[in-house]
Amino acid sequence: MNLTLKVWRQSGPQATGHIETYAAEDIPEEASFLEMLDIVNVGLIEIGAEPIHFDHDCREGICGACSLTIDGIPHSKETGVTTCQLHMRKFSDGDTIWIEPFRARAFPVIKDLMVDRSALDRVIAAGGFVDVRTGSAPEANAIPVGKETADAVFDAATCIGCGACVAACRNASAMLFTGAKVYHLNNLPQGQEEKDQRVLAMVRQMDAEGFGDCSNHFECEAVCPKGISVDVISKLNRDYAVAVAREGLAD
């Protein structure tokens, strides 16, 4: 198939970006979206032009590196896929496709379609862990976890940290991302000790990084490649409110 691409090009963090038009020709429909970009890039390299830069690694929907906004929607309008899992059979010959980076205040562009998402790492560093020293763990089956709880926390733990939720949100909020990790750890017996501290620290870090508030539009859930439910946001709000109250009492 033949396509027209409208691609965001930006030579560096300080540079101003613009949309460039490319023809993507003879694209096999079995190819993935990123393989389509590979083909276009080989064409660019052969004429000495700089290839389009984008993040990617596993190319199977699990590392969370790929991060393209396709026709205005992070990871495209297909539900439950990452950019790398999108296949060209979902497009038609002659289509024009707009390709832009994930956009958010907290995700500055590095080059072309590549952005800096290290703010998400710092939210985890603030409290997204169980503080257990290596070697000090009790026997694994001494901590029973009911299957239902295990399944529910798994649904939150499946987050790949791609940041699509942030890019889709009009406020660039990271509540789905943060809520998923808080839900995962705060609902396990292992996570109880640090429950309040965790939610307070993570939410405060989220604010400090410039992520916005949640105004209940739920675009995040719609684009999440792992289908994480916005329920984790209401749980986050509840855990946060409880922790703030307890913090107040302790003062």
Partner: protein, 663 residues
């Protein structure tokens, strides 16, 4: 090619004592560093996967100053994230007769008696603590209704000892490890350098004391010094271009260390995984694994007749049109007691044989069926969805076919590399100070790794082994004795800059990928699933040509002083081109078949007793224990010169090598 068997060069430093007591004795006698002194020592950890991430976090907990590097934008994206199936541990929660001994035995036998007994035993022993650690971190392993941990069985084992987190075990283990790492980062014990690639190793007075890195965003070249260096940089499967590895996986760190004198052990041992989605076209950038756990419920088959297979390929027949008695469930037929769970090397070669026989079912002829219809009938669609839902979804996204309705098509693909830098029992290479963990070392898997044991090894190395062994080296070192102002650092920086300049000034006509593809094709055909003397010699003859073409005709647009993905790829491919050579030398000189290394000249035939008495099948890998019961460790001797082979003899005190039979 000289060979050197002197044990002094390759002293594995295996502790004295009975096998089962070696590790505890070692720990009781290892040199320690007192808590107040630990913070004076700095350690570089290259890699943030399961091996590097767990090591960095744990060493920081102990009080060392750690610097951790990865080329991805976040440590959470290391390739370990992609592991699907599970992690082994000898917990015996199923009460099905498992034990540390049995896990050790299975791993040793699975590796076709080409691994070190003492290391393999330690791995099995430490496997118990790993699960405890991960559960305490909140890793959401699969559970039974009663709240206990669930298990499943995996290729090459007759007990159920694999712990799993849906089809995302690697992701959940890595996130546990990443969170521990982030915790240490926030406490200041680890300084993390993401989007930073190690381009060379720095040696000071014969000891590994630092690295030279490129900041992938700014292009800046800089040095880091430390009291010890740990490489946990993963495997080299991408030497084949197409593999199940992530796009960025590379051999650079290990190859650079090899060029600085570290021995490369068993580079020819590369694992081909039986269950991957077949190749569909030459635009393809990578292959996708379908977890081997699928073989618990899926049945592998091809049509008995070539005619039926040809009709399927042409689309004239569907899988469901082939009646039961016209199907060849070849694994169940050839290996009745293991059936579809036969080890990877065996399953992969059997698929290749069926396809070479003209009975492949994918359009290209290279594919076999993995059929769930019986399991769906037996257990119901919901149960299958619960077990494999995300894998089925992944398959459908890629292939456009629904595996609940039609059988999957699979074919073997390069997946894991058992070879790696040579290390002793301390996980230290022959270069003092240079430690190697995870897939990057030659490790505990011998000539073939069993499923669910790489995650186990990575975490064993990082959480439990290196924290106990590194003090043995550090205790002999004065902390902080090296800094980046030293001339050794200047010189390596200079070499790195010159090599980058050379790459940037070629300005030829071809993309980096085009050379990588040529290399991959050559390696897949001549040093892949089955190898011959003639094929390997041909590869060794052709490799210099590809390398010369690369250095004459590669084109890297843009500049070196900023983000440049082509430059990153070019550096890695240049290293793969050098590495391929030592890999072929190794495959050529190992004149036997063992595990994943299959030399066509060395297979059992009807002439052999073990075949005549029904113990094994004709065509199975034939080892030559009298000549090859050793680790092959290769020493670099300079460009254009053949590497030199050193042999570390393998001694089996507890389990005498036997012919592997999975019948």
């Amino acid at each position: 090619m000289d060979s050197n068997t002197s044990a002094s060069i390759l002293d594995a430093a295996i502790p004295e004592g009975p096998l089962a007591e070696k590790w505890s004795r070692y720990k009781s006698h290892a040199k320690l560093i007192n808590p107040a002194n630990k913070r004076k020592y700095s350690i570089i950890v290259v890699g943030s996967g399961l091996a590097g991430g767990s090591a960095a976090a744990t060493l920081s907990e102990l009080g060392y100053q750690v610097k951790c590097f990865c080329f991805q934008d976040s440590p959470r994206r290391a390739h370990s994230i992609a592991a699907q199936g599970g992690i082994n541990s000898a917990k015996n929660y199923q009460n099905d007769g498992d034990s540390v001994w049995r896990l050790f035995y299975d791993t040793l036998k699975g590796g076709d008696f080409r691994s070190r007994e003492a290391n393999t035993y330690r791995l099995a022993e430490v496997s118990l603590q790993i699960i405890d650690q991960c559960v305490a971190q909140g890793v959401p392993f699969a559970r039974e209704y009663g709240g206990g941990l669930a298990n499943r069985s995996f290729g090459g084992a007759q007990v159920s000892r694999t712990f799993y987190a849906r089809g995302q075990t690697g992701q959940q283990l890595l996130l546990g490890c990443y969170q521990a790492l982030e915790k240490e980062i926030s406490k200041g014990g680890v300084k993390m350098y993401p989007r930073t690639e190690m381009l060379d190793l720095v040696m000071v007075n014969g000891h590994a004391k630092g690295i030279v890195v490129r900041n992938l965003i700014t292009g800046e070249i800089s040095s880091h010094a430390a009291d010890a260096v740990i490489l946990a940089t993963g495997g080299y499967g991408n030497v084949f271009f197409l593999s199940t590895n992530a796009m960025g996986c590379n051999v650079t760190a290990a190859l650079r260390a090899y060029k600085k004198g570290a021995f490369f052990a068993n580079p020819c041992y590369t694992q081909i995984h039986p269950t991957c989605i077949p190749v569909s076209g030459d635009y393809q950038s990578k292959l996708t694994l379908m977890s081997e756990s699928l073989r618990n419920d899926g049945r592998v088959w091809v049509p008995k007749s070539r005619e039926d297979a040809a009709k399927i390929r042409r689309g004239e027949l569907k899988a469901t049109d082939i009646p039961e008695d016209s199907r060849d469930y070849y694994l169940e037929r050839k290996y009745p007691s293991f059936g579809n769970l036969a080890p990877r090397d065996i399953s992969s070669r059997s698929a290749k044989e069926a396809c070479d026989d003209g009975r492949g079912v994918a359009k290209t002829g290279l594919g076999v069926f993995l059929d769930f219809s019986d399991a769906i009938r037996r257990l119901g669609k919901d149960k299958i969805a619960e077990r494999y839902g995300n894998l089925f979804q992944m398959y459908e996204k890629i292939s456009g076919e629904n595996p609940y309705e039609v059988p999957m098509k699979i074919y073997p693909a390069v997946h894991y590399t058992m070879g790696g830098l040579w290390v002793d029992y301390n996980l230290m290479s022959n270069l003092p100070g240079l430690h190697v963990l995870g897939e990057a070392n030659f490790s505990d898997h011998g000539a073939n790794r069993l499923g669910a044991s790489a995650l186990m090894q990575g975490l064993a190395d990082g959480y439990f082994v290196i924290p106990a062994t590194i003090s043995n080296y550090l205790a002999s070192q004065k902390p902080g004795s090296v800094n980046t102002a030293m001339s050794e650092f200047r010189q390596v920086e200079q070499e790195v800059k010159e090599r980058i300049d050379t790459l940037m000034t070629v300005q030829g006509k071809r993309s980096v990928d085009s050379f990588h593809r040529d290399l991959g094709m050559l390696m897949w055909h001549n040093c892949g699933m089955s190898r011959t003397d003639a094929g390997l010699r041909e590869a060794l003859q052709k490799l210099p040509g590809i390398r010369e073409a690369f250095w004459k005709d590669v084109r890297i647009p843009g500049r070196a002083d900023g983000m440049n993905m082509e430059l990153e790829k070019a550096w890695r491919v240049a290293d793969f081109l050098d590495f391929a050579e030592v890999m072929c030398h190794d495959a050529l000189t190992r004149e036997e078949s063992c595990g994943a290394h299959f030399r066509e000249e060395h297979q059992f035939t009807e002439e052999d007793d073990v075949v005549r008495n029904g113990y094994t099948n004709p065509g199975e890998a034939k080892r030559h224990d009298d000549l090859f019961c050793h680790v092959s460790a290769w020493e670099y001797k300079g460009p254009g010169v053949d590497p030199v082979l050193h042999k570390e003899p393998l001694v089996f005190d507890e389990v005498p090598p036997s012919v592997r039979s999975y019948k």
